[in-house]
Symmetry: C2
Subunit: 230 residues, 2 copies
């Protein structure tokens, strides 16, 4: 396991691929995971095409989860539980699992501007309930537009509310510095993920009403900029 | 009832008083309501002191609710139901009731950075369930800092997500133009208030973590500015 590597499970989807592109562009080793190895390899080829000198590899999810200290879950809500159940025996104490899932009602055939309620409170807390003790769950990146991530020439104008226990939260907050335009904001305890996840549904509705196909973002106003890492 | 008047029930509280100051400063007739007439009159005196030529009057809530086509509910969550039940017989068809309430867990003795669940989905939908048919409920202003509203010399840097049926929603969106720095954003159907209300709890937590006593706000990024009134 390379200490600066970042694994992205579901890295074949729009948002996971966007993060993979950005992290690879920033010079970090990126491991893309997928349920099927050949899909992970196809996504890897896409990233290599954009970033020829990028350090990027593709594996199936189980394998990918063992190859980085930070494992980002970028799978659709309906595959979240099965994905976590599929990898949890591979996770080691001290690893950080990043939940960027949102319980969009598309999972039950309803619209993407609405959510369903999760017993544990949020996708992030659901993941926390599934992983072994000693594995840290942090919530982040839910509100970041997949399309804007993929436009490498442009900044992604969005704050990232990062929630979880202090030490792993700060590790994930520092990932935001790798993507121009993203700003990490201390989102407090993991339970706050339930609010951050809902904001994504609100943004999806706004994308439709305002016909912004590349996706909107959010900023917290009034925050002392040099203070945002507290 | 004067057609350009704005009634603010609970206008004695920080946020209601802030809106009263801003609307009075913009030249609109403002009616402050309170459970007790003398408290409404005291708040009115405060506004007059800041804005000597302001058109402002104080009444008890029942009376105030009959004096403006737009009635803003700015009462703490624990008084919301009793306030609406107290005025609903006075409301007339076509009046617009603005819900700016947030179900903060302070109502049950827990913290302000958390909320309680509302059966109807949100404060706004709870209000909708209580008012007579023909009265329109619109959700707005939840995320606007009371302290920043009261600093009349400064702009309030915040977007206002306004939710509800089209025609009353647009009437409430136009109120945002009265306050420098506020920008109205079409928040879609009233049910979206459940997300907007939660954002306030998130901002309250951020105010504490970042020690921003004057209060933070939010902006939606990527929105075409000249298009925000769609």
């Amino acid at each position: 396991m390379r200490p600066d590597a970042i694994a992205i499970l579901g890295g074949t989807g729009d948002q996971g691929l966007g993060l993979a592109l950005r992290f690879a562009k920033a010079g970090r080793p990126v491991v893309i995971g997928s349920r099927k190895l050949e899909r992970a390899e196809a996504a890897t080829a896409k990233v290599r095409k954009e970033i020829p000198d990028g350090d990027i590899e593709g594996f199936d999810n189980e394998d990918a989860a063992t190859r980085a200290p930070i494992v980002i879950l970028s799978v659709p809500f309906e595959h979240l539980v099965s994905t976590v159940k599929g990898i949890r025996d591979k996770l080691a104490e001290g690893q950080v699992v990043v939940s960027m899932g949102v319980p969009l009602a598309t999972a039950i055939g309803d619209g993407a501007a609405r959510t369903v309620g999760i017993w544990q409170g949020s996708c992030a807390e659901l993941v926390q309930a599934l992983v072994p003790a000693g594995v840290h769950v942090v919530s982040a990146f839910q509100n970041v537009s997949a399309h804007r991530l993929q436009r490498l020439a442009e900044e992604v104008e969005c704050d990232v509310l990062v929630s979880g226990a202090k030490v792993p939260r700060e590790r994930v907050m520092s990932l935001c510095d790798l993507v121009p335009g993203l700003r990490a904001v201390n989102g407090g305890p993991l339970a706050n993920a339930r609010i951050v996840e809902e904001i994504t549904a609100l943004l999806i509705g706004l994308n439709v009403r305002y016909k912004v196909s590349e996706g909107l973002g959010i900023r917290i106003t009034g925050l002392p900029d040099d203070d945002a890492r507290k």
